[in-house]
Amino acid sequence: MAALLDVQGLGKRFGGFTALADIDLQVAAGERLGLIGPNGSGKSTFVNCISGTLRHDSGRVTLGGQLLDALPPHQRTRLGLARSFQLPRPFGSLTVAENLRVPLLYAGATKLSDAECRERGMALLGQVGLADKAAQRPRELTQIEQRKLELARAMAAGPRLLIADESMAGLSNAEVDEIVDLLLRLNGQGVTIIMIEHIMRAVMAFSQRLVCFVAGRKVADGLPEEVVRNPEVERAYLGE
């Protein structure tokens, strides 16, 4: 299977601080990848570099064989790379439904009509359980609902590769299961997914493969059961 996402030697520094060092990662089309790592290990920075929100200093990133390095974020989104933000960043002056309308109008390959936009938007809101909030403003939503909106907005871009950055923090067990189910269904439709998560139950239930970052380096990459037993991963998490 050819890799959909191919990251080679990715490096990112903030001033003198190395946030990411020489990361190699291949993700196959249709794969479900879990990405774990302690706080501050560089997971979100990795997402930001891949999606173009930040510019990386070294290395190369390709999606489906196309080099992304020089492309602005919106073009990467249009090529099929969608991401959610760890801290939800909704469009505050738009309603929940309109929040989804933005990617529906801009990220899709084909131009949607007004009615199609509305229909797709409502369908997505239904999937994340926000259908009855469509006309509300993001600030009227709870933190958890905002996370769902964030995920729905990324899904609305119609991605080939979806990166969900801690979409489940703060959710109840039942809600976590709901989101995991949703992502599994999406994956069943052929969307490749990278899930960044601290909730191990969700990660283990979801991932086919697990990658672990520690202090900006990739320390483990393999089957989930093996990775969690990896001594370096254990040390990072248990702090020995």
Binding site: P72, F91, E98
Partner: protein, 321 residues
């Protein structure tokens, strides 16, 4: 951006709105033929000029959240391009307006291309500096009179019959209506949603697929061009143009105050703000000095920004909820 649009009553279609606007223009034109007092056209011209400027400013400032302090520069460049071309070739007014719009659009392109990659504050500072620099340049431009200013001959009769001021009034009516229609079309189109996304969170807008840079630059060009068009008839209206009157601070302040007072989220806000504030000023001009007048505008603006950040439209909508 009207939040309830997709769910509650269906909004008027864009085509319908253009038709209504055309009908409105026609009615005002017909009514105008009955008016014999030129003062009505003088006063009406000013109001419409501010409707045009406020609407133009709001397309960038209100929809995208990028504050342009350089309205006076765009406005004055439009006026001076028109003065120069009129002196050189004696072209008809519509051509002068197009030329003024084109040059100002180009300046918007340059300014935007250079500064719109940064946080909005830097764009704003650059526009403020632009206004000061353009004034310096035009003060040095001897062909159009330099610091001393230039007289422009206003024909006594307009091409439609009636006085030339009446003709200027209809021209401005057309321009203002056009600008309002454009603003509303932008607002309801994909671009409107893209601009709102930019205003709220630019990085998230990019991540949602919005080509933020392209959209911002295009909007700056459009906004600048409309401001240039607003300035182009000015020399004929005032008949004597010098840098202080073209770079009138009142223009810069009013253009920002009007949308902020009316409400920046939709096309109607700047229209309401422009009509209200210019009528207040027109009325106050009779009784108090122009400096006090300007002070009034400044204080009203500060009052609205601090106490009613969504303007009159925001207050009305809040009441309805």
């Amino acid at each position: 951006m009207t939040g309830d649009a997709p769910l509650s009553r269906p909004p008027m279609g864009t085509l319908a709105f253009w038709c209504w606007a055309a009908a409105f223009t026609g009615v005002v034109y017909l009514a105008g033929r009955w008016v014999t007092n030129d003062y009505v056209f003088f006063a009406g011209y000013i109001v419409l000029q501010y409707v045009l400027l406020a609407t133009a400013w709001n397309i960038l400032g209100g929809y995208a959240g990028y504050v342009n302090f350089g309205t006076a520069a765009f406005f004055a460049i439009g006026a001076y391009i028109s003065t120069a071309l009129n002196k050189w070739l004696g072209l008809p007014l519509p051509v002068l307006i197009l030329a003024g719009a084109a040059v100002c659009g180009l300046i918007g392109l340059l300014m935007g291309g250079l500064t719109l990659k940064l946080q909005g504050v830097f764009f704003s500072i650059a526009t403020l500096a632009l206004a000061i620099v353009t004034q310096a340049l035009i003060t040095n431009w001897e062909y159009v009179g330099g610091a001393a200013g230039a007289y422009v001959i206003r024909p006594s009769r307009g091409p439609l019959g009636g006085s030339y001021v009446e003709y200027l009034f209809y021209t401005m009516l057309l321009l203002a209506t056009l600008a309002v229609c454009i603003a509303r079309t932008v607002e309801r189109s994909a671009a409107g949603y893209g601009l709102a996304a930019i205003r709220d969170d630019e990085a998230a807008a990019e991540a949602a697929g919005v080509p933020t840079m392209k959209l911002k630059v295009a909007t700056t060009v459009l906004s600048g061009a409309l401001m240039g068009a607003a300035g182009a008839p000015l020399p004929f209206f005032v008949t004597y143009l010098d840098p202080p009157s073209a770079f009138n601070l009142a223009v810069a302040v009013n253009t920002i105050a009007m949308p902020l007072v009316g409400g920046t989220a939709t096309w109607i806000g700047p229209v309401i703000g422009a009509v209200l504030l210019s009528i207040v000023q027109e009325a106050a001009m009779v009784t108090i000095s122009s400096a006090v007048n300007l002070l009034l505008v400044g204080l009203i603006m500060i009052g609205f920004i601090t106490l009613a950040p969504n303007g009159i439209m925001g207050l009305l909508r809040g009441r309805r909820r």
